[in-house]
């Protein structure tokens, strides 16, 4: 089942030489490894049904143009589909695919490539099980005459079968801590906003839960983006993949991120005792992640 290292080296189009050097050091290429290359090609070397969770945040339109060439909105679906074909093949029938994505504004309108992608993924056989909302508390500032700041992203959940593994208890929020952290760590802004709402059911809600130990979350995730004070600026805060990894996998399960980028999801997977496969076309990123994983 081992991937041939020599073969992998051929896959990298943009960074062929460094990818070769990078991949030569690899021993066990599909478990706990960071592989350099285009995920579409790299994944062809993996067997069917070997991954429990795919969680990824693909390069956004016109972003990271240095490494990915800046996919144009009108070409995004076409660009994505051959990759998701491979995702479908390598995912176990009980597995889940989480796609973190948000459409850009193009000429004052939300572009439709994300919703078109959902329809096309369904044609590939994916079931569109759910759409989670990631509410970014600290979104990018700015002011425009015709729109407000964009404070949310989609986390689309796709599955191969109606029955899939889900460990809801793993992400339950202890109510005591929840209430404490909610009340203590709740920013002054949130408090004021809550208090300003006379008819808010928030207080009532707390009293409903007071005697319970834990509560199940909803399909809205409240997470702040990480500040870039740290060495690696992550698109994803680590809490986002962490939540999905806990929810959809057990220890020793295999987590794949085909656009691993700064490596957040691989690091979190390792920290949680899962096996990880991270793929990225940029060998610099791959090296950094590999080093970070060793240090963990």
């Amino acid at each position: 089942m081992k991937v041939k290292v020599e073969k992998l080296a051929k896959l990298n189009l943009l960074h062929k030489k460094t990818a070769t050097e990078y991949n030569e050091g690899m021993i066990e290429p599909y478990s706990n490894s960071i592989i350099c290359g285009d995920c579409e090609e790299v994944l062809k070397n993996l067997p069917d049904n070997c991954v429990d969770l795919i969680v990824t945040s693909p390069p956004y339109v016109q972003c990271r143009k240095n490494t990915y060439g800046g996919i144009h909105p009108d070409e995004y679906v076409e660009w994505f589909l051959p990759k998701s074909t491979q995702f479908f093949r390598v995912l176990k029938p009980t597995g889940t695919f989480i796609l973190n994505i948000k459409e850009k504004v193009v000429t004052s309108e939300r572009h439709t490539y994300v919703i078109e992608l959902i329809l096309e993924l369904k044609k590939q056989g994916w079931l569109w099980t759910e759409e989670f909302v990631w509410h970014k508390k600290n979104c990018y500032p700015g002011k425009w005459p015709n729109r407000f700041r964009d404070a949310w992203e989609r986390c689309l959940q796709f599955n191969k079968e109606k029955k899939f593994n889900m460990y809801q208890e793993a992400v339950m929020v202890p109510m005591g801590d929840w209430a404490k952290s909610r009340l203590k760590k709740l920013s002054a802004t949130d408090k004021r906003r809550d208090e300003s709402k006379v008819k808010s059911g928030f207080g009532k809600n707390i009293s409903n839960w007071v005697d319970r130990d834990k509560a199940y979350p909803t399909n809205v995730l409240h997470l702040a983006t990480e500040c870039a004070n740290k060495n690696h600026s992550a698109a994803f805060p680590s809490t986002l993949p962490e939540w999905f990894i806990k929810l959809f996998t057990e220890k020793h399960d295999v987590v794949l991120d085909p656009f691993v980028g700064s490596g957040t999801s691989a690091l979190v997977a390792k920290k949680l005792g899962r096996k990880y496969i991270g793929i990225d076309i940029n060998p610099e990123y791959c090296k950094m992640i590999e080093n970070a994983c060793k240090e963990l």
Copy 2:
């Protein structure tokens, strides 16, 4: 420009007799009025470009089947499009159409009728300007093996033109603590950023911050659902239409809700000094709203 009352009476399919009785009492049919009938037909009697805001929460799939016949998910788009054609016609070029909607789960999957509707509305000429998330903090409780509680709905914003009326100051929210220190002394970064703009006059930007204690909101709305008056089937808290009415209209502007249901949006519009047009196929609802408006 007045609607002929006799004509309106023909439009109601389900409650013909009561609709006739109801509509006969009407004096000014397109300003501050509740009209009974199918909005598709009723709106044909309104002139072009006479409405500043359309805000509505249409009957959900397989809900309220007694009054609306329970539209099947697969027929939803087809059912909706002739109505939105009329919405487009009656809306002013500077106006906005807000559609509060959420797709149902059908056989363990999110149905695609909402995203298909977006694509079809664009074909009708609508611009898909934005998608707001309405985060329902105290959503309906429940537990399922394969999904969490649904705590959000879409509020889709459509426009006829790229330029439309938007009164952002009307919906500003309290700002965080950091503003205080910000006002005391601008940070070095801000100074530097300001100094780099020497061309465009002097510290104009600084004055933007003075006496500022409020911030512009984002496209995520934190509003609790009203648990209170459960007399009516529509779960549209008054805070939701209120927010959009403040944001997209001024006093004396015309607000239309073509599926006015329990009448929340009409009542809020009146309370805020806007003119309202509410349409519903159910004469019982119409009577109730009419009475409620009088009492206001």
